[in-house]
Amino acid sequence: MRASSLLAPRPRTLGSEPEPEWRGYHFSLTAAITVAAGGFCALVQGPLWNTDTALAGANLAVSVLFVFTGLMLRREPGQHVVGWALVAAGVLRCLDFADAWNAAPCGIYVLIFGAADRLFGAWALLRYPNSSLLRYQRVYLVLLTCWMLGGRVLIAVTSLPQWDGDPASAWWPSLIPNPGLNEVINYVVNTGLGLFGAALLVLLVMRLLRTTTLDRIVITPIIVAGLAAVVAAVASAVVQTLSSLNGTPNNVYIVESAVDLAVPLAFFVAVIQRTLLLRNITALTAQISGGADIGAVRYALRSTLHDPTLELLDLSAPTPDTAGPADEADRLVEFIRTEEGTPIAVVIADPALGRYRGLFDAAVQTSGLALKNAQIQAQAAREKLEQVRASRVRILEAGLAERRRIERDLHDGVQQHLLGLAAQLTVAIAGTADEQARGALAQVSDGLREVLAELRDLAHGIHPAVLSQGGLAAALEDVAERLPLPVRVTAPATRVAAAVEATAYFVACEALANVVKHAHASSATVTVRVEESKLDLQIADDGVGGIDSRGHGLANITDRVNALDGELTIVSPPGLGTRVEVRIPCG
């Protein structure tokens, strides 16, 4: 818990921790009231400690727990009424057993008000964690109160104190003591209370079914405990009614007390659970803090806030398809904005989450951070990719420029130099009378001629001058001319960017070299089309096919094509020839 409150953004209401001195004040007050109530409850049971210590102890435990939980609960936003109702239930609980004193007002008090703690308990069960009761719940509580108090008053006025196990001298409002009438009234009142108990069961189940999102998590233990307590109370009442008033075994009360313990415990759990929900933010943060797409954030929000109806809509990209639920007006809507205030997304959630405003806001805030992170990351990735692409093109172009330069240097330097020497050698040969020397010089001349031819091929291989000068069409024709099989070249005279021409040229050379080496083809075609802003190149043969697209130097040309954002496809079904297709953008 400590870790999560450090990591998670501080929610406004849920975690609105008071200042330290306030916290101390609350702690002291809680302790003081609990001790005072505990002392009062211990005293009030007085003689019961001697006759039935277990029951007295159980009662005290239930009371103290109710009081303590109520005090804790009163500090929850909107719950202080419920908190005080639990405190009242706790204190009244022990007062139920004040008749152990056998003193004057105790007997009649317990007879009439002996179940008042149940009223407060029912109130708390029906209300928490809402800020008010629904109309029918209020009606129920009023009717229950009237029935319970009115019925018990009727029982009192038709009875004598000794019937209740009190001394005959005790004050008693015996207006018309009548055993028969009393028994009938007793029966009717208790049956009615049993029905009220059953109705409460129904109301509690209805509450559970009607709650959504986090409410359900918080409320489930309370409702379960409440159901158990109601069942126990009804069972206890049945036993009381069936046995004689004096003969009710105290064990029944002990069992009921034990079950009742569950109610404050459940409230206590709920209080803790509401606080622990902050932990979800930590999980949410861990889940999406690295940046996540809108779908992942939506999923994380739904599971964190336990709201499967929650919707997270991307406002940065217009999506007209998601109109949202029809009753959107009632729903909780929160916008996620950039630093500048531009909305980038909107969260539409169950209104029940309004009770967990702090948690909800923290979750939305975390989601916002994740979405903004994702946007920044995507932007950075796009820029990086663009940089890489640009640098790939630069590298390719630099390589081409370098090849052109080497070819030019060879042509203008070494080749011309050697040619000059060859011309001089020819002159020398012509001027040499010595037959032997002429033969030797002629051999040098022949060698020089071979070197010149090799040099020409070398320069052509590095970068064919015809490509720069005549373009792709002329260069491809010249490639075709050197091959040992007929190659039909169809290419427009249109010129495109040098890098594109060179790439297409080298791809064609590589593909044609493969045709010669591996395809066993009888002819091939090279087709170039320049349309709009792209160049299509196709090299097809009628050979054996089945060429492995990864081998034969094709990986190298694939890289070249990719560098220009082009695509290269190789179709080579066995027996059906090979087709290499390249598409390069050249806009």
Binding site: A422, A430, E481, L485
Partner: protein, 229 residues
């Protein structure tokens, strides 16, 4: 023979000049670029001109432009374009630009004074010369189907020699045939290629062009020659 030279490489130009002079040629003008050459020639038109294909300012195929300009200014001066490029496309481009009295020769031929002088004499005489290396490669290779396929081996050999710029007499000597037989082959070639019998001179060039075009260079087509392919 009076000759002018345009060549941007100083070393090669001077060596070439030396070689030509040793072969009895009078070099009347030499320059490092086409425009300079045209200026240097002025009114004293030579018998033939040697032009480097790659010269300033473009360093691409400036020589072909210069050849065209020379032909325009001096209709009867032979133009021999020297090149280090063995690509057919340059030869085709040249022949499409300048139709007669023109030649495309690799610079490697400076090792062979006889071929060089022969070629100069032929372009000066208005014939068309293509470098033997290129011609040989075209004869040897597997071509795509064209009208050239209708020629028999003997006719193809004659056509190859025509491309190198040989006269009927020269071809007869090289192939050990009688001049009459060569003439018959030439006529047969013209017929098979669908050339007009009347224009013998132009037909020689057209036949050579058809031969070059059969090697490829289809993209560099001229409307009036497409019928040959």
């Amino acid at each position: 023979m009076r000759l002018a030279i345009a060549e941007d490489s100083g070393l090669f130009r001077s060596s070439l000049t030396m070689l030509l002079q040793a072969s009895g040629v009078e070099v009347t003008a030499s320059a490092a670029s086409g425009p300079e050459l045209l200026e240097a020639i002025g009114t004293g038109a030579p018998d033939a001109v040697i032009v480097d294909i790659r010269m300033p300012p473009t360093f691409t195929d400036e020589g072909i432009n210069t050849a065209a300009e020379l032909r325009r200014l001096y209709p009867h001066v032979g133009v021999l374009v020297l090149s280090t490029y063995a690509e057919t496309s340059y030869a085709s481009q040249l022949l499409e630009t300048v139709h007669t009295g023109v030649g495309y020769l690799l610079k490697d031929n400076v090792t062979d004074a006889r071929t060089l002088m022969d070629s100069l004499a032929r372009v000066a005489a208005g014939e068309t010369v293509i470098d033997p290396t290129i011609v040989r490669r075209l004869l040897e290779r597997n071509r795509r189907p064209s009208k050239i396929d209708m020629l028999n081996d003997r006719e193809r050999a004659v056509l190859g020699h025509m491309a190198e710029g040989r006269s009927n007499m020269g071809i007869a000597k090289d192939l050990f045939l009688s001049p009459r037989t060569v003439e018959a082959h030439v006529t047969s070639i013209f017929v098979k290629l669908g050339l007009d019998q009347a224009e013998t001179d132009n037909n020689r060039v057209r036949a050579v062009l058809a031969f070059l075009r059969s090697a490829g260079a289809g993209s560099l087509c001229c409307a009036h020659l497409t019928g040959l392919i």
